[in-house]
Amino acid sequence: MDQTRPNLVCRLKKALYGLKQTPKAWSDKIGQYLVTSGFQTSNANFSLYVKKTDHGIIVIVIYVDDLIITRNSDANIFDLKKLLKQKFEMKDSGELRYFLGIEVIQSPKGIWLL
């Protein structure tokens, strides 16, 4: 604080890390980006985004800053991942193994949740 002018406060122009508005600002930001790239927000679950393409659908589930991306057929998710990496600072952790304490095992036969 400026000692000579103690009555003045700062007005933030951006949502800083740790503020209570920050989570919403982040969710708006990634939501907006996904919507502009053709995704639709699900009405049943706001952290679920679906994009329908000619080849099938791509589904994204967001938990704070963790994204699960999946698809039902040949829909291209590699371009999407590349675009996301360009836009946000992201790391591709590969195939889903653990999520929020749930172990996921994937095989051609099906998917196990443990």
Binding site: A44, V50, I57, P108, G110, I111, L114
Partner: protein, 205 residues
Amino acid sequence: MTGCKPISILLEQNVKLSADEGDLVEDTTMHRRIMGSLIYMTITRLDSSYAVGVVSQFMQTPRKPHLDAVRHILRYIKHTLQCGIFYEAKSQLQVHRYTDADWANNVSDRRSTSGFMFSFGSGVVSWNSKKQPTVALSSTKAKYKGATIATCEIVWLQKLLLDLGQSMDAPFVIYCDNINNILLANNLVYHARTKHIDVHYHFNR
């Protein structure tokens, strides 16, 4: 608990836990920590959701019998560590719904517990076991209320499936073990004898 003996039963039969019997547990923090973990575990382990629901009703003042029941659950978990939900790749995508309820099983407030389970294809996708908010005067009512909760879930599930591009042309298959309920759901002719059910929702006020 690491050296404990695994057990294949979740809750001992016919043991009714009550809020004020037995000695108080000394380390309540530990008890609550275990309970927190158990509740989180029900996200993937639907088999334990009823048992966890029962013991979590005594978080306020945990007593010795409650702690014993929690230990019992932990031993069961040890027995079934390898179990999980399996979603088979080549399964028919049909939603099945199962509901059931007990009647006035809680000894202290005589409320019923109902549960439902939805399976989609080979795996379970949504389930719930919850003590009903009101007293039911007959098992038909208890089960009917449980079915209502499950129907609310269906509405949401249908929306979700629609968003995922999976329109449900085939109707949901509903399983329920009470013949009265099936008649009640199919036929409104019983209305005069059952319209007091909505009045009874306020019975315990």
